[in-house]
């Protein structure tokens, strides 16, 4: 039987192929329970101004300790390369690590990645010693450019951030997977477990999601469902699916019929 290997990103090894976000949960405590139910080893985090008005405010690190989960600082809310680079330099100072998730967005309505700015930011960050996992459109040409620039993981959208519309262009995801020499992780768009399984069946190396778990009626149960979906999709991909036929092919022998 084929045995799966670990997910390797920038020299780090992960046994879980599911990365989860830390936004939109009722509390950081619920967030931590969901991350554990998902079996996640890596969580995305954002960087924001300290809120001095409430020193007793719940702190992310207290519920989701960096010793338990690898933090992947993001640049959510950045609309220019300069803002993204500035944010991640601060994140490196706050956390002390270089593995980051770059996203440079084009507009508030779609949160679609601005690929020109994304590529510019990726080059600047890589030049500055960062390991860049990059959120991108599902354009195979730009995915290739990002890989050539030195990004350590390519993370195309399945559909718009927070939309829950699943993998809208499986052909492009497959094209990106075929050409990539670094891990490909579907980031954004997953709405339900089957979407995650489809991403993995397309040959992706992992899936990153936030809203699908956080906005489920029972986030902990959905986190568990996503864990199983990612494993199922991965094993299905490795196992190699049967061929498609137009007509039926009986599973019981034709010989010996009474």
């Amino acid at each position: 039987m084929t045995i799966d290997t670990a997910l390797e990103i920038a020299g780090r090894s992960f046994s879980s192929r599911l990365i989860v976000g830390t936004g939109k949960y009722a509390s950081y405590k619920q967030n931590a329970e969901a991350a554990r139910a998902a079996g996640a080893e890596m969580v995305t985090v954002a960087l924001r101004r300290v809120n001095w008005s409430d020193p007793n405010e719940e702190r992310l690190q207290d519920a989701l300790a960096p010793s338990e989960f690898t933090y992947l600082p993001n640049t959510a809310g950045c609309f220019t390369a300069d803002d993204a680079v500035r944010t991640l330099r601060l994140a490196r100072e706050a956390g002390g690590w270089t593995l980051v998730k770059l996203e440079v967005l084009a507009d508030q309505k779609t949160l679609y990645p601005d690929m020109e700015e994304t590529l510019r930011a990726a080059k600047a960050l890589i030049g500055d010693g960062f390991d860049v996992m990059v959120y991108c459109s599902d354009d195979p040409v730009y995915a290739q450019k990002l890989e050539e620039a030195g990004c350590c993981a390519i993370m195309p959208l399945g559909s718009l951030i927070g939309s829950g519309l699943g993998i809208q262009n499986p052909l492009n995801i497959r094209l990106i997977v075929e050409q990539a020499r670094v891990p490909v992780i579907v980031d954004a768009g997953v709405g339900t477990a089957s979407d995650a399984a489809i991403a993995m069946e397309l040959g992706c190396d992992g899936v990153l999601m936030n809203t699908a778990i956080a906005e489920a009626k029972d986030p902990i149960l959905m986190a568990s469902a996503m864990k199983h979906a990612v494993i199922a999709g991965r094993e299905s991909y490795l196992a190699g699916r049967m061929g498609r036929r137009l007509y039926a092919d009986p599973s019981s022998p034709l010989a010996g019929l009474i």
Partner: protein
């Protein structure tokens, strides 16, 4: 003297350091990053960095995000 902290004007005592400012605000120096006039000040220099009038500080931390 006046400084600008996370976009808001604030009065601090002359000769305050970055570390005393953070502690006086009830902040936890762990897990934060400080940018002073668009330059990051490494943690190792928080104690020795003396605030100047009209300094613009950004003090940030990790929060939940997707």
């Amino acid at each position: 003297m006046q400084i600008f902290l996370n976009g808001e004007a604030r009065e601090v005592e002359a000769n305050s350091t970055l570390l005393t400012l953070v502690l006086s605000l009830g902040g936890d120096p762990r897990g934060i990053a400080i940018e002073r006039n668009l330059e990051i000040v490494p943690k190792s220099e928080h104690e020795s960095t003396i605030l100047q009038p009209n300094d613009h500080l950004e003090i940030v931390q990790f929060v939940g995000g997707g």
